[in-house]
């Protein structure tokens, strides 16, 4: 029995280190290869030893697909390919391919230079890893090998984020990665055609949330920033260098321009400039507005937003600073946060999701006293705001995507178990499809019934069409032909052609049957009676009385002879070919019932 097996190595009932193994029709694909923000030990990477204990990973995996450049989806990639060892192809979209190494390098710097970790991947490893990448464009179908093909769909979320359809023969799996069903200031909405995959693996970050309209969110955000700045306070917005940051930048930039504000906006870290450069380049991946106006002005060429220097944090007066990373767990955003936390005029706006264990998560859950490294206690006086700017689909959006793709099964990843439970129940209830939510390391097996394509010759099809009325989609039709299996493909041809192709002679198969009739009359008369009887019953068929004393119904021959022993019994010989089996057996059963009593 063919089946699809799915095993999450990460992101199973969890957010972080997305890594899902899929075997479909004998092909093994790894979806995403991310790290976990909440851990600093071995747990931050997926457990690749699950795939194989010894031996190269390349032998076990046909390809790796990276959905987008967020570190929880690609952070373990150099480790996986260079340190564990994988030489097969890695697929990602061109923007992801461009931006991913920047983020990996940044991540490496923080881990090695700041925290002094040993046994971490090096810059060279990142470079080597990126050499294995193959770019996939939107809606482009890439043949990984003869059977396995993948296709990318637009997913919103961040620049270059894509959903992937993995297809072998007629079986397919769609992996959404992270996606967003509502467009924002710089990206469009995710879209997929009605591809009816066997399995849809979808993220479920906001499984239990239905979000307010984004316009309110935007207005709220601008208002909060504006008021703090007018009060003379400083605003800290911890972001990941790429993704939300650009959206918020565009938002603030246009707002500053419209309201003619003077307070400086800074963007931390040098990698932004590089990243912004890519945003300017990949205009086709952005939303309608930016695509339409970039001829006049590229929206990513900011006028009000300047690069941040560490010394600026102590400057007096209002300012807005975007700083990485987004969950306040390390780096510059944490430094600035520590500097500004004591002043109640200041504000920190958390624009996205925070993983448990990070400072961001702590302050959002209302903790006002934080224990920092070295037993320091930091009192948080500044205002803490949470703006849900995270570009994940909410419950409605997830349902919408499922409705668009019409899968046979749904599998939830990238979310919390409790929330998944709710969504699972909803999906099963409303779409009547099975829904799964495996934990890490747990395997889900789905039986599939792959359809086997059979070629049919046009002549045969036309002949059959001509016989019946219109083909009706709902009613099955009987079709006679010969199935030829040759070189693992199937063809349905007419029997004559099959004979010809196979070089076989045609054998006539004839059935004969004797029917005893009690009839004392002469043979001729019996035949006449049979003839008239059949004529009266089989009105649609051609019944003939031949001069040699036999009766034919279509091609069926009926002859009568006197019984050698009993002259009162006549023997009717009925003979028909295999093709007329239906009519022939009907005739014999008819004749066996006997002839009606003649009025004599």
């Amino acid at each position: 029995m063919p089946e699809i097996r799915v095993t999450p190595l990460g992101a199973g009932q969890d957010v972080g280190r997305s890594c899902i193994l899929v075997s479909i029709a004998g092909k093994n694909v790894m979806l995403d290869c991310g790290m976990h923000m909440g851990f600093n030990d071995d747990r931050r990477f997926p457990d690749f030893s699950y795939i194989t204990q010894n031996g190269r990973l390349t032998d076990f995996l046909d390809c790796v697909i990276i959905s987008h450049f967020h570190l929880d989806h690609c952070g373990a990639l150099p480790y996986f390919s260079e340190m564990v060892g994988y030489d097969g192809p890695i697929y990602m979209t061109p923007p992801t391919q461009a931006i991913c190494p920047i983020l990996l390098e940044d991540y490496r710097k923080i881990a090695v230079d700041k925290k002094g970790e040993a046994n971490f991947f090096t810059s060279q490893m990142i470079k080597d890893c990126m050499k294995k990448v193959v770019a996939v464009h939107l809606h482009q179908t890439v043949q990984v090998d003869d059977e396995l093909e993948i296709k990318a769909y637009y997913a919103g979320h961040v620049l270059g984020a894509a959903m992937f359809q993995i297809k072998v023969g007629s079986e397919s799996v769609v992996y959404t990665g992270d996606y967003n069903m509502t467009p924002d200031r710089h990206l469009g909405a995710a879209w997929i055609d009605r591809c009816r995959p066997n399995l849809l693996i979808t993220e479920s970050t906001y499984a239990t949330t239905i979000r307010d309209s984004k316009r309110c969110r935007e207005r709220d955000f601008l208002k909060k920033v504006h008021e703090t700045v007018e009060r003379g306070g400083k605003v800290l917005i911890p972001v990941f260098a790429l993704g939300r940051a650009q959206e918020l930048c565009i938002l603030l930039e246009t707002f500053w321009e419209r309201m003619n504000l003077k307070a400086p906006i800074y963007f931390s870290t040098g990698l932004t400039e590089k990243a912004n450069h890519y945003y300017k380049l990949f205009i086709t991946w952005t939303n309608q507005k930016i695509r339409k106006t970039f001829v006049q002005r590229n929206m990513f060429e900011f006028k009000h937003i300047k690069a941040f220097d560490r010394a600026f944090a102590d400057n007096p007066g209002p300012m807005v600073v975007f700083a990485t990373p987004g969950m306040l767990h390390a780096g510059q955003s944490l430094q600035i946060f520590r500097k500004w936390a004591g002043n109640e005029k200041n504000m920190v706006i958390m624009p996205g999701y925070c993983v448990q264990g990070t400072v961001g998560h702590k302050i959002l859950s209302g903790q006002r006293k934080l224990e920092m490294e070295g037993r320091q206690v930091l009192e948080v006086k500044m205002q803490v705001e949470y703006m849900s700017f995270s570009a994940h689909a909410d419950a409605k959006g997830i349902m919408q995507l499922i409705g668009q793709a019409e899968p046979e099964h749904v599998l939830l990843v990238h979310g919390e178990a409790k929330k998944m439970e709710f969504l699972k129940q909803k999906i099963e209830q409303e779409f009547r499809v099975n829904c799964y939510m495996p934990a890490n390391g747990e395997t889900v097996t789905l039986p599939t019934s792959p359809s086997i394509p059979v070629g049919i010759s046009l002549g045969l099809l036309k002949r059959e069409m001509a016989q019946g009325l219109l083909p009706d989609a709902k009613k099955p039709r009987l079709l006679q032909g010969t199935l030829i299996m040759k070189d693992s493909n199937f063809r349905l041809v007419s029997s004559e052609q099959a004979l010809k192709e196979l070089g076989l002679a045609e054998h006539q198969l004839r059935f004969t049957c004797r029917v005893h009739l009690h009839d004392a009359r002469k043979e001729q008369e019996t035949v006449m009676r049979v003839y008239s009887h059949l004529k009266s019953i089989l009105k649609d068929h051609c019944v003939q009385h031949l001069p040699d004393g036999s009766v034919t119904v279509e091609s069926i021959l009926i002859q009568a002879a006197a019984h050698s022993e009993d002259p009162g019994t006549k023997v009717l010989l009925v003979s028909w070919t295999y093709q007329d089996e239906e009519l022939g057996s009907y005739l014999t059963s008819l004749l066996k019932k006997g002839l009606p009593q003649a009025p004599s």
């Binding site: 239990t208 949330t209 309201m259 419950a395 409605k396 349902m399 929330k419 909803k426 409303e430 219109l470």
Partner: protein, 964 residues
């Protein structure tokens, strides 16, 4: 009676002329007729290969065929059709048959039999489809003939089983256009079984080809459009199609559902998987709402558009469209809108910065949450934040239409509209501002909403700001803080964009007069008065101060207690503003102040404007004193013209009327002056030089009459008569002057003829108005017409001269609403000292931005003229898309003008100005005597002349010689 007889004589005469013309053209037709089909026949016989034949047919198709020769051509084509083996040629012939049968004046029933015949023997699917198309053309040409329609329907049904989608498409199209639903039964069915077309078409809703499915739905819609009532059974079928794989099917299905919902709004349909039942229109509304989140944006636009016109939907469902039932971690969450509202009603003005005020509240029963099939839920929320701006605009429009019909919905959708003001695409912002204006009668803005609205005032687009001013004009504000906020923001706007001055003043005028009680408590603060101390007198020329005063004075109009709060200088400023900006500042009754205007005419009705009265009086005076001595008349006219012109400058709402009358009087004055000339008494050869004045006067009168006719909007027919009459007088004057100055009779003869034709023309155009022209020049002229027709030019001139002198001054009735067209060129400003340099021979693009007021149909009339220093003038026709319509009666022209010239030695100025093109003949075709077909299209579009109507702007340019 005699006059009537004379008129009839002339009428008959003109008819004769026209018939002659017709005969001439008819002769030409007959000459070309036989050659047409014969040539085709010869060509087709000559053709050796199918490609040749195709070429001949293509050539033939380029020329039109006359109705009489169609049949012959058709026969020849059919003949070739039978012989032809090549499918492509047959296809072309079939399409030609279709084209030919559309020829007006040709009845195609004679070729129908042939067409059906060839249809039966045709094998090629493409040709079959084309032939069915031809049959469709024939069928639509003969809508009355029931039998033919039946027969065609029969043919279509027969071919419905064809394997090609193209043929099935055409069959369905045919059924949709010709089929009938009712079994018309008894009469002339003649063996042809009547078919239930709706059922036949409905069967193809499940065809395997999406194109055929689409065609089936379109055919159904076509049946509906033809006025046949679709049966309700179709509704369920259509609903199934909503989940089709193909977008064009879904898009058409949405339309069909909408149609059914409009036909049977009140019938009851069951909700699947429950026992409940709802109205069909509600069910359809829910389904269409669901399509607003379809995968294809084409369908989304379609669905969003149709939602707007479903007014019968119950309010319960309507309000759901704005409700998304937010939740967070399975707990009910309130939307930001709800929170804002609550904050407002609880009296707090801090706006949502409290920690956790968006924290989710009560738990939600997990079983009750319905994530998709919630019908209308949040449809507009989705539509308004769609990725494609086309969808967003459609959603805003739909919102507007629904809100106009339901005040409670208007109140609810306000938050969403306000949010749209911050959309990233300007068009959407503009559209939502306009929408808001349209529904503003039903709504009152809360302060937080007003805040968002006002934030848009800083927008850099002038269109947006002006639209917003218009919106504020008709907005209801609920609190005095709101008014204050609006004023502050408007003043900010004023300092940022000083060009918005007039628009802002106007806006404040309405804001004040709508909310007198809210303005009252703000007055001391606004005027910065102090109970004990005198404050400094503000600068009277400050636009911001004027803006504040406009607000206060308009509020004071209905609030008698307000003037008590004014300080002395305020009253002085009032008097000044009342005089200088009378359209913005209303008349106030100020207690204890004897203002001149109120003291002089206490008996005037309060609503009657004294300036209006002044205008009336001065015009009366002129018209009544027409038998004064010439000197007195001239003086009186001169004074009155001066008065009127001054009045027009002072009172902008009367400017149109005043200018219009002044121009008319000016014409009269010129005429009188010309007739006073001494030249009339002098013998002919002597006054060659002196005649300058008279002929100049005639010319000027002509110009002025054109201005009167075309530069004013709201001119009615009775004014046009008077204007044309004046023009006729000017023409008479011209004729007389020429007669006196030229020797020789020949040119005069032609002129006389022309003049008499003009008179004739005048009579025919304004025959209904002639009774009003008693005793006038034209009246007398028509009396003498028979004599004029026969007399010699010299005599005609003599008669005209005496008649001109005797004719009375016609009273010009004033129209209700009249506005003078005006234009201001905002850009180029014409102040730059830096010449625009470009290489000679190449072009330079000059941005032109102008506002046009009261121009009717500017797309066709407004032109741009560029005058080069060498006297060369260039006329540019702006594209229709360059005109925007920001408000009633106002247009904005934003375009580019391309300049080019040969090289100059030094920079020089070119003049750019706007022209109003006119064509006096375009007015006429309404009269019954000209048949629609006879006026050639050229006459309609041609420009007879132009009137400059803006101040010229000078642009400094410098074409440099090209470098070698």
């Amino acid at each position: 009676m005699a006059a009537h007889l004379k008129k009839r004589v002339y009428e008959e005469f003109t008819k004769v002329v026209q018939q002659q013309q017709e005969e001439i053209t008819a002769k030409k037709l007959r000459l070309t007729k036989p050659s047409k089909s014969a040539a085709l026949h010869i060509d087709l016989c000559k053709a050796t290969s199918p490609a040749d034949a195709l070429q001949y047919l293509l050539q033939f198709a380029r020329k039109p065929v006359e109705a009489e020769s169609v049949e012959g051509v058709v026969r020849i084509l059919l003949e070739h059709y039978y012989k032809e083996n090549d499918a492509s040629v047959r296809l072309k012939i079939a399409s030609l048959l279709g084209l030919l049968s559309k020829t007006s004046g040709f009845s195609p029933d004679c070729i129908m039999d042939d067409a059906i015949n060839i249809l039966q023997n045709e094998k090629s699917h493409q040709v079959l489809a084309q032939l069915l198309d031809t049959l469709l053309a024939i069928g639509t040409k003969l809508p009355e003939n029931q039998a033919i329609q039946m027969r065609l329907v029969d043919v279509a049904c027969k071919h419905l089983t064809d394997t090609s989608h193209g043929v099935r498409n055409k069959c369905l199209q045919l059924l949709g256009n010709l089929g009938s639903l009712e079994k018309s039964g008894t009469k002339d069915t003649e063996g042809l079984a009547t078919r239930d077309v709706q059922k036949i078409i409905g069967d193809y809703f499940s065809d395997q080809d999406p194109r055929v499915r689409t065609a089936a739905i379109k055919a159904m819609l076509q049946l509906h459009e033809r006025g046949l009532k679709l049966q309700q059974t179709i509704y369920n079928q259509a609903c199934k199609l909503l989940s089709d794989d193909y977008e064009q099917v879904r898009s058409a299905a949405v339309q069909l559902i909408w149609v059914v919902s409009q036909l049977y709004p009140e019938s009851i349909v069951p909700i699947p998987s429950s026992n409940e039942e709802i109205r069909l229109v509600d069910d359809a509304f829910g389904k269409i709402c669901h399509m607003v989140s379809d995968g294809s944006w084409v369908v989304r636009v379609q669905a969003a558009k149709l939602l707007g016109s479903m007014e019968q939907v119950s309010s319960h469902f309507l309000e759901q469209t704005l409700d998304k039932k937010l939740m967070s971690d399975l707990r009910r969450k309130r939307t930001a809108h709800e929170r804002a509202k609550e904050l407002y009603s609880s009296g707090e003005f801090s706006s949502g910065r409290k920690w956790g005020d968006d924290a989710p509240k009560e738990e939600i029963d997990t079983g009750a949450v319905n994530l998709i099939e919630s019908g209308a839920c949040g449809a507009f929320v989705h539509g308004l934040e769609d990725e494609m701006y086309e969808v967003r605009i459609a959603a805003v429009e739909a919102l507007c239409m629904l809100a106009q019909s339901s005040p409670s919905f208007a109140e609810k959708c306000l938050d969403f509209l306000v949010d749209m003001f911050n959309d990233e695409i300007e068009e959407v912002r503009l559209q939502s501002i306009h929408t808001m204006r349209k529904i503003s009668n039903n709504i009152t803005l809360r302060e937080d909403q007003l805040d968002t609205v006002l934030a848009v005032l800083e927008d850099s687009s002038r269109d947006i700001r002006e639209a917003l001013h218009e919106l504020l004009c008709c907005t209801n504000v609920s609190t005095k803080e709101g008014i204050h906020l609006a004023l502050v923001e408007l003043l900010k706007n004023l300092t940022k964009y000083p060009t918005d001055r007039d628009s802002i003043w106007k806006c404040l005028k309405f804001l004040g007069s709508r909310h007198p009680t809210l303005v009252l408590p703000l007055v001391p603060e606004l005027l910065s008065t102090h109970p004990f101390f005198d404050t400094a007198e503000p600068d009277m020329d400050d636009p911001a101060y004027i803006a504040v005063l406009v607000l206060i004075f308009n509020a004071a109009k209905t609030c008698p207690t307000m003037p008590a709060l004014f300080s002395d200088h305020t009253f002085r400023h009032y008097a000044y503003l009342r005089d200088s900006l009378s359209h913005l500042v209303p008349a106030l009754r100020l207690p204890g102040r004897k203002l001149v205007s109120s003291a002089v005419s206490p008996n005037i009705m309060p609503h009657e404007d004294p300036s209006q009265q002044f205008l009336q009086q001065s015009l009366e005076r002129v018209y009544s004193l027409q038998h004064l001595d010439p000197q007195g008349t001239q003086e009186l006219l001169e004074f009155t013209i001066r008065d009127l012109q001054r009045l027009g400058e002072l009172q902008s709402e009367l400017a149109g009327v005043a200018d219009f009358s002044a121009t008319y009087l000016q014409c009269q004055l010129l005429l009188i002056k010309a007739l006073q000339e001494k030249l009339w008494n002098v013998a002919a050869p002597l006054y060659l030089k002196q005649s300058d004045l008279a002929s100049a006067a005639a010319k000027q009168i002509m110009e002025e009459t054109y201005k009167m006719e075309f530069m004013y909007s709201g001119v009615e027919n009775k004014q046009v008569v008077i204007i044309h009459h004046m023009r006729l007088q000017a023409k008479a004057l011209q004729l007389i002057v020429t007669a006196r100055t030229t020797r020789g009779v020949d040119p005069l003869f032609g002129m006389c003829e022309k003049f008499l034709q003009e008179v004739d023309f005048f009579q025919r155009c304004f025959i209904a108005d002639l009774p009003h022209l008693q005793d006038s020049f034209v009246d007398k002229l028509l009396d003498l017409m028979p004599r004029l027709m026969t007399s010699k030019p010299a005599e005609v001139v003599k008669i005209l001269q005496t008649m001109l002198r005797q004719s009375t001054f016609l009273h010009l009735p004033l129209p209700e609403q009249i506005h003078k067209a005006s234009a201001t060129i905002i850009e180029p400003a014409g102040e730059s000292d830096n010449p625009l340099r470009f290489t000679s021979g190449l072009v330079v693009a000059l941005d032109v931005d102008a506002t046009l007021e009261h121009v009717q149909d500017p797309q066709s009339t407004v032109k741009i003229q560029v005058l080069y220093p060498d006297g060369q003038a260039q006329m540019i026709h702006p594209k229709p898309a360059d005109f925007r319509n920001p408000g009633p009666g106002r247009h904005r022209l934003i375009t580019q003008v391309y300049l080019s010239h040969t090289a100059w030695t030094e920079p020089c100025q070119v003049e750019v100005r706007l022209l109003l093109a006119y064509n006096s003949n375009a007015r006429i075709p309404k009269s019954p005597w000209i048949e629609g077909g006879e006026v050639s299209p050229q006459v309609e579009t041609s420009i007879e002349g132009t009137i400059p109507f803006s101040k010229p702007v000078k642009v400094y340019i410098m074409p440099k010689p090209a470098r070698r």
